[in-house]
């Protein structure tokens, strides 16, 4: 049964950390909390776990009001950023500890510890102490300990943030496989849009203690309801250009006008912000319909298999994401092209009007 937050708020010392959040999470689902540092992810998790009591609102588990029920009496496990294990216990005893506390019999403990250890590929390290493990192995141990008890609610607070990027890449994929088979409600906090996408499931975008949007991860990514959400859920950042719609055409500052067609067809006259994903900007023309913008290269950042070309257009900074490795000199003049059918449109309040492949207008 589900975990339900009803109009939950939390303030600490007069400061609002969680602002009126309502959310329902179903068992067997994987839920990502996405938002920058201090957006309220950890605070929200603490409320879900029962580590903190909400200042307002209710928390329901299986339809029962558990607001104020201490964490000890709830069925919950948590994994943190830091690798937290019992330093004097072996990996085996670490993983077994929640079961021992729950007085599970020894044979059952053994079976479950080995099963979960195998799942996390630490079955050969069971007799080691945490100090003898690498960072990745320590975090695997902590995750195994959280998984072993099959809790109703499993919370992971940026568990991969302190690992190097190759390990992060590997563990992400493993996590996706591990959590797919669970009956628990899994909640996973991260600051990285790419991590949310790689993990799949549902995503709740948070900003300044508010829940901005919740839904299927790829849907939220493709159809952000506001500029704020689009910004929180894009890496590299989404690029914006102002445009004016009049007489069934859009005019973007210095660039050529384009006729309203496709998903832009129903735009009413007025000013809009047009959003363009970095991957949809190109330095060469792909089709005759492309809009071209003049820009200067600021810096080309190379990730290894991709190049992020930072350019300046008319005072705004954009990022063009290119596949492969490309060198660009600072100050180089380029033409940036975008296919109009890839444009996101936001109104002057930052609310989405239309997104590519979505013709539904925002009410209000």
């Amino acid at each position: 049964m589900a975990l339900v937050l009803e109009n939950v708020s939390k303030s600490v010392a007069g400061e609002l950390h969680i602002d009126n959040i309502s959310l329902q999470l179903e068992p067997g689902t994987f839920n990502v909390l996405l938002g920058r540092t201090l957006s309220g992810k950890t605070s929200l998790m603490r409320l879900m776990a029962g580590l903190d009591r909400p200042s307002k609102g209710r928390v329901l588990m299986d339809g029962k009001d558990v607001t104020g029920l201490p964490v000890r009496k709830r069925d919950v496990a948590m994994v943190y950023q830091q690798f937290i294990n019992y330093p004097s216990m072996t990996v085996y005893k670490n993983i077994a500890s929640p079961l021992r506390l729950a007085k599970v019999d020894a044979a059952e403990i053994d079976r479950r510890v080995r099963e979960v250890a195998e799942m996390l590929h630490i079955e050969d390290l069971l007799e080691r102490l945490p100090v003898e493990l690498s960072g990745g192995q320590q975090q695997r141990t902590a995750i195994a300990r959280a998984l072993v008890k099959d809790t109703q609610l499993l919370l992971l607070d940026e568990p991969l943030v302190n690992l190097d990027y190759k390990l992060r890449e590997e563990l992400r994929i493993e996590m996706r496989d591990i959590f797919k088979r669970r009956k628990s409600i899994v909640v996973y906090a991260t600051t990285e849009p790419l991590e949310a996408l790689a993990l799949g499931g549902n995503t709740a975008v948070m900003d300044e203690g508010r829940l901005e949007q919740f839904g299927n991860t790829i849907d939220v990514y493709q159809h952000p309801q506001s500029i704020k959400i689009a910004q929180a859920f894009s890496d590299p950042a989404m690029n914006f250009v102002r445009g004016e719609v009049a007489e069934k055409t859009v005019k973007f500052g210095s660039a050529a006008e384009i006729p309203l067609q496709g998903h832009l067809f129903d735009l009413t006259e007025g000013d809009y912000q047009f959003g363009m994903r970095a991957g949809h900007l190109h330095l060469n023309r792909k089709s005759a319909a492309d809009v071209a913008f003049q820009a200067d290269v600021d810096l080309a950042e190379i990730s290894g298999s991709e190049t992020f070309v930072h350019v300046a257009h008319n005072g705004s900074s954009w990022i063009v994401q290119r596949q492969g490795v490309h060198q660009h000199a600072m100050g180089e003049q380029v033409e940036v092209y975008v296919d109009p059918s890839r444009l996101y449109v936001f109104n002057r309040h930052g609310e989405r009007v239309v997104s590519p492949g979505n013709f539904q207008e925002v009410l209000n």
């Binding site: 790689a198 790829i218 810096l299």
Partner: protein
């Protein structure tokens, strides 16, 4: 400014190293050109910091020599080597103003105050510190402090090389871009030899003309970002550079064909002379996944496809081996099974982890990249 030469260089922290495993740095010979920006890249424990400390003189190598412009400096102390170094955590003189911090190295060397003023002002302007020159350095943000540490190196006209030890560790993410750009500008203007240690591939590849990839105490490749991506000299480079990394599969070579768990893949005439056990490497972006069989393709089962927004990663199984295939956003990915094409142009063959150079003398209808 200087050309840095490493001759028979090796280092062990043990006094009497017995085996290769006792060496933090395996024997190496390299020449780093004057005025170039080098990045030492590798995971923690690969020996990159040891190498940097040997160049700066903080560690004395147990074997071999370091020369700057042909002059052996192995026995010299850091202060005798005319290098400057920027550390992981900003080192500033807390009680001094920004101006005095920048002037400090020059005052210690007894320069006239008028010369100091001119030099400090020039560097401060370059680093955009001119507005805060009179402020106390201790009260500034981490990025400004890091610029001051860099500035203390730049004010000196005698600096042979500037060394950086993960200098952006404590910098806010949104300021990193600005500092990376600043570093590139400074490099373009002063044409100083720069050596930059980092474990972050984005930082290394963005900063450097040449990236020195290190693994287990060894330099596995020195190359431009493009060379590292397109032509990894070592399987470790293929794995470490790029996200996701290169697919590496054990294979058996015979007459220009690679056999991987029963599937046969043509690798081109340039590898015709190879036989026996090797490894085949190909990057996920160069594999093509077809829904129906095409000549030269291999049947694979598709385990899962991750939609990453700007691209998709399909995880496929070929016999016992897993591969990743990178597809464009919006591409239709076949479900259950598909057919994988290995363009020979992008296939790399490795023996014991090292790249086997294609034999271009063999007539080939396949063009090898580069």
């Amino acid at each position: 400014m200087a050309r840095i030469e490493l001759k028979n260089l090796a280092h062990s922290y043990h006094s009497k190293p017995k085996s290769e495993a006792d060496y933090a740095l395996q024997q190496m010979d390299h020449v780093w050109e004057d005025g170039q920006a080098y990045a030492l890249l590798g995971p923690s424990g690969c020996g990159k910091t040891t190498l940097l400390n040997i160049i700066s003189g903080l560690v004395k190598p147990s074997e071999g020599t370091v020369s700057f412009d042909g002059e052996d400096v192995s026995a010299l102390l850091p202060q005798e080597r005319n290098i400057a170094q920027v550390f992981q955590f900003p080192v500033i003189y807390d009680t001094m103003s920004v101006y005095d911090n920048l002037a400090f190295p020059l005052r210690n060397r007894g320069l006239a105050e008028t010369d100091i003023r001119a030099r400090v002002n020039e560097v401060a302007e370059m680093l955009e510190l001119d507005d805060v020159l009179t402020r106390r350095a201790a009260n500034l943000s981490a990025d400004a402090k890091q610029k001051i540490s860099l500035g203390r190196g730049l004010v000196r006209s005698d600096v042979a090389a500037i060394l950086f030890d993960e200098p952006l560790t404590v910098i806010d993410p949104h300021l990193k871009l600005y500092l990376r750009r600043k570093l590139k500008q400074i490099h373009a203007r002063f044409k100083l030899t720069m050596v930059y240690v980092t474990h972050d591939q984005l930082e290394a590849l963005t900063f450097a003309d040449k990236v020195v990839v290190m693994h287990a105490g060894q330099v596995v490749q020195i190359g431009t970002p493009q060379e590292l991506f397109e032509n990894p000299q070592h399987t470790f480079v293929g794995y470490f550079i790029g996200s996701p990394g290169m697919n590496i599969l054990p294979c058996n070579m015979d007459k220009g064909l690679a056999t991987i768990s029963g599937s046969v893949i043509p690798v081109g005439a340039v590898h015709e002379s190879l036989s026996g056990a090797h490894e085949l490497g190909i990057r996920p972006e160069f594999l093509r996944l077809h829904a129906a069989a095409v000549a030269g393709t291999v049947k694979v089962t598709i385990r899962e496809t991750e939609d990453l927004g700007s691209c998709q990663i399909a995880r496929v199984k070929m016999g016992d081996h897993s591969l990743k295939v990178k597809l464009d956003e919006g591409d239709t990915v076949p479900t259950e099974e598909g057919y994988l094409e290995f363009p020979p142009k992008w296939i790399r063959i490795y023996a014991d982890g090292k790249l086997v150079e294609p034999d271009r003398s063999l007539k080939s209808d396949v063009e090898i990249a580069q």
